[in-house]
């Protein structure tokens, strides 16, 4: 593995991944891969998550195509030097921030959206000019295999590599030195990744999870709220890091919520949910059993059916849930929705703040003031008001967590920035040495006053200002020459 990383580093050092044209070619190749091999990719995702190919397309492939198009359209702008405001002393100089690639980047994916969670960061890392190793999750085997097969066929094989394997291989990989690591997964492994990164002073982006709360206000369009929540909760069989994990609402709303969600489930998946091609399954037996245990001792308002053979768990709602019970202690990551009753929004806010900062927060209300208040008084990675999941789809918004739900962010421009070093550059000339007299010893009080004036005032590039400043500079130069 060390050799592989070395090989990539060598290729990176050759400078081949720097020119924009090269990066765009690689991105275009990725796009071709997704379009030409769509069937194979969809089949792999579908096999891993018992997902229909249509869903696989709309859940995963759409996002990637959008991300590639974004990068292709915006790369020249993203990679360009950004000028910076100057002070009097640097007025005639060039000052800018130049984005540069970091080097060799490691992307560790998760199994729940196995394609997009490798590909979306990969697009960003390539666009930023890096060499990349991707390590798909071994739990989503078919996608891991198809990525290992396809990526080398379309991408430069010296700069981009796929490493597959389980815990042992990942541990070995983490011993190597990278220039950035982006990890999507759970908190426990997130800590291990950061600890390994610390040995090499490698910066990390950790996309973790948590329990994303969903507050339903009594003053809201309950029909719409329930419809949207049903969609977001049971998509991918609840195995979504930003799924609404649990609901907080006043006790009086519980029954109506249950009723409306039940109706919506019927609309979405039909009478016999097991037969719906749109309803997925739990990824493996371990998670299936874990989820089953969360149902123990709970009041099941509807759903609750499970089938070990097919790893099917019905869309389920629990009511009057005790905050101390197991289902409220860990991220559910399954099609079980606990409803915890609170007296009012104050109690909801306190409930949320007593817990770790979540990856996402949802509030349903007609009252914009209330929504703003919940936002103001809580913290989370992201927020969607009056809907769920959707902030993920706006790629002008950074996607990431805070506190236990993660650090760093990506998507769109944020991916590019995450995988770049923004290098400040100041280019001066060798003339104008007389102004520098101000700073050289032996020092004096008057020198000091002038030095402060020049150093600490900042100006924009406005034309009139330039003229004024040029005059001032001339005056200053004269003063310096004559009097100091």
């Amino acid at each position: 593995m060390e050799r592989q990383v070395q090989r990539l580093r060598q290729a990176f050092r050759s400078g081949r991944s720097r020119p924009l044209r090269f990066r765009m070619q690689q991105l275009e190749a990725l796009k071709r891969m997704v379009q030409e091999r769509e069937k194979d990719i969809l089949a792999a995702i579908a096999a891993d998550l018992s997902k229909s190919e249509l869903n696989a397309y709309s859940h995963e492939v759409i996002t990637i195509l959008g991300e590639i198009d974004f990068m292709l359209a915006n790369l020249p702008e993203l990679a360009s030097a950004k000028p910076a405001k100057k002070n009097l002393l640097t007025m005639l100089d060039e000052a800018y921030v130049q984005p540069e690639p970091l080097g060799v980047v490691l992307i560790i994916g998760a199994w729940n959206y196995p394609f997009v969670l490798i590909m979306q960061p990969l697009v960003g890392a390539i666009a930023a000019g890096n060499a990349v190793i991707v390590k798909p999750s071994e739990l989503s085997e078919n996608t891991a295999k198809i990525l290992a097969k396809l990526l080398p066929q379309y991408l430069d094989q010296d700069l981009y590599a796929v490493v597959n394997g389980g815990v042992a291989e990942t541990t070995e990989l983490l011993k190597q030195r990278f220039d950035h690591i982006l990890y999507t997964g759970n908190t426990a492994v997130g800590k291990i990744v950061m600890e390994a990164a610390a040995k090499h002073l490698t910066p990390v982006t950790l996309e973790l999870g948590g329990k994303s709360p969903c507050y339903i206000d009594r003053d809201c369009d309950l029909d719409i709220a329930c419809r949207r929540i049903t969609w977001g909760k049971y998509m991918n069989c609840g195995q979504t890091c930003i799924a609404p994990d649990y609901v907080l609402c006043e006790a009086s709303l519980q029954d109506r919520i249950v009723q409306k969600m039940k109706e919506t489930v019927k609309d979405f998946y039909g009478e016999n949910i097991k037969d719906s091609p749109d309803y997925e399954r739990i990824i493996n037996l371990r998670h299936f059993k874990r989820l089953q245990s969360l149902l123990e001792g709970q009041k099941i308002a509807f759903g609750g059916e499970t089938d070990e053979v097919t790893r099917y768990i019905a869309p389920t709602i629990l009511t009057d849930v005790d905050p101390n019970s197991k289902v409220m202690q860990e991220e559910i990551f399954g099609p079980i929705l606990p409803i915890v009753s609170v007296k009012n929004v104050d109690e909801a806010i306190n409930f949320i703040n007593d817990r770790e900062k979540p990856l996402a927060l949802y509030i349903f209300s007609h009252n914009n003031k209330l929504i703003k208040r919940v936002i103001d008084e809580t913290s989370s990675g992201g927020v969607t008001g009056n809907d769920v999941i959707m902030h993920f789809t706006v790629n002008s918004l950074p996607f990431g967590g805070v506190g236990a739900s993660g650090m760093g962010a990506y998507h769109g421009k944020y991916s590019f920035d995450t995988f770049s070093h923004q290098r400040p550059c100041l280019l001066k000339g060798l003339k104008g040495e007389s102004i520098n007299k101000l700073r050289y010893p032996p020092n004096s009080q008057s020198k000091l006053s002038w030095a402060k004036f020049f150093l600490l005032k900042q100006f924009n590039k406005g034309g009139l200002v330039m003229l004024m400043v040029a005059c001032l500079a001339v005056v200053a130069a004269v003063i310096v020459k004559e009097y100091l």
Binding site: G66, I224, S379, T393, V402, L430, P441
Partner: protein, 468 residues
């Protein structure tokens, strides 16, 4: 251990009351910092002179004035920095409100080194406060005079329920790091940087590490040696070389070396006189440990300028070494003292290879009359920051981010970058309950027709036209 726990708990409780959220509160704290600097300017200068033999000029320019400027910048821009940042939307979200909310993280820890003990305390502190956090400050125990002022006087100017100073050495810092913070800002060396990051990993605490390294300085044949010597010497011997962004070593041709050495001597004499030890403008080494370390380095290569040292005064003369081998100790560690080794290379390519063989530095310098040479060095290397034809002037522009890359650090600050560093960028999308017809496209049962329409809706649009 217990005393930390109480302090931290109190700060967290204060944070949870929401006290630090208003712009008024934050501005009041910043104004407090301003008053602190004004009221105690003399004392601060004396303390800096005591700790590092800093001249008034250096204290003002590199510590007090810079800190004041950051406070002023933050006060002027606080409200605009705090504003929600609107972002562009796609067709499906056209009628929604999409913005980035800047929020404080909560409890921030700032660990400060001894070389610019005031600057490296206040500049991060300004950012942390402006962003609405509560702060624990851990000043360096090595710069004792400043440590005393920060511990005893600074708190009087801030709301003490939201701000605390903790004192101690490596052991106490280690204990402190076992606690959970919401952000850790560390300035210091890579060795301790790794320890800080490992400790942060246990709590998944995000960090900024401002580390160091050996900052290369390439001098092209095509330049004016005296101008270059003036600039390099000033930045090298400022604060007796104890600057993380000081040019650490020079790479140049043999011919250029022969011109540079006498030019450097001219500069040293002009700046510090014939006997630099008597100059009020030259600093001293911080303590015995570092003095002895630097004294050891004087044996590398051959002394071309300076080389004198005086243990009683912690004085090391502005020194230039030549005939230095890459394998000698002076090229193995960050020098952090008034010693400047010159290494000869045949050409630009050799210089660039030399630089790229080593860890990415915090700063990189290149001197040449030809801009293509400068641009080549820039394009073919990596570093935290870069300055062509001067020393660390890029640091004085708060519109440029300041930070390292690779072994020289992660994260950045100064000006607005400080505010952003200490803020959580929270993505917010506020939708209306209306427009449900469009949402129907996304609900099961799925169909190809719906998918096609959804694709159209999700393309990004910056205009506010709608199909509806």
């Amino acid at each position: 251990m217990d005393s930390f726990e109480d302090t931290l708990r109190q700060l967290r409780e204060a944070f949870n009351t929401g006290r630090t959220r208003t712009a008024e509160f934050r501005a009041e704290q910043l104004r407090g910092l301003s008053r602190f600097l004004r009221d105690h300017k003399q004392q601060l200068q004396e303390a800096l002179a005591q700790d590092l033999h800093k001249s008034t000029f250096e204290s003002e320019v590199s510590e007090i004035a810079i800190s004041q400027a950051e406070v002023d910048l933050a006060l002027r821009n606080l409200r605009s920095w705090m504003k929600d940042e609107k972002v562009s939307k796609n067709l499906a979200t056209q009628l929604d409100s999409a913005f980035i909310r800047k929020e404080p993280f909560g409890l921030v820890l700032i660990i400060v080194p001894w070389n610019y003990p005031l600057n490296l305390t206040l500049v991060p502190l300004v950012g942390a406060i402006a962003a609405g956090n509560c702060v624990v400050l851990k000043p360096s125990e090595t710069s004792k005079a400043i440590e005393k002022i920060l511990a005893e006087i600074l708190p009087r100017y801030l709301d003490q329920s939201c701000f605390a100073v903790v004192l101690g050495g490596p052991q106490e810092t280690g204990q402190l790091l076992e606690h959970r913070f919401d952000y850790i800002f560390f300035t210091g060396n890579a060795y301790v940087g790794k320890i800080v990051m490992a400790a942060a990993a246990k709590h998944l605490t995000p960090i900024t590490l401002e580390l160091g390294g050996k900052n290369p300085c390439y001098v092209d044949d095509n330049c004016d040696p005296q101008t270059v010597a003036n600039r390099v010497a000033w930045f090298r011997y400022f604060n007796a070389g104890q600057t993380c962004v000081a040019p650490d070593y020079i790479l140049c041709s043999q011919e250029m070396q022969e011109q540079l050495v006498p030019a450097l001597q001219n500069a040293v004499t002009r700046f510090y006189g014939d006997n630099p030890q008597t100059s009020p403008n030259l600093g001293r080494i911080i303590n015995q440990k570092h003095f002895k370390r630097l004294q050891g380095l004087l044996g590398c290569g051959r002394v071309a300028i300076g080389g004198q040292s005086d243990e009683n005064d912690l004085y090391i003369a502005p020194t230039v070494l030549v005939d230095v081998q890459e394998t000698e100790p002076v090229m193995q560690e960050e020098i952090f003292g008034p010693i400047l080794p010159l290494l000869t290379v045949k050409n630009l390519d050799e210089a660039i290879d030399f630089i790229n063989r080593r860890e990415k530095p915090l700063a990189l310098y290149a001197f040449s009359k030809r801009s293509q040479v400068i641009k080549q060095v820039l394009a073919r290397t990596s570093s935290g920051g870069f300055c062509g034809n001067d020393g660390f002037m890029h640091m004085t522009l708060s519109s440029l981010p300041f930070g390292g890359v690779g072994a020289s650090g992660m994260g950045r600050y100064h000006g607005k970058f400080s505010f952003d560093t200490f803020s959580n960028q929270r993505a917010c999308l506020l939708r209306s309950p209306g427009m449900e017809k469009i949402n129907d496209l996304r609900y099961p049962p799925y169909s190809r027709r719906n998918l096609r329409m959804l694709l159209v809706a999700m393309q990004e649009r910056s205009c506010s036209c709608t199909l509806l």
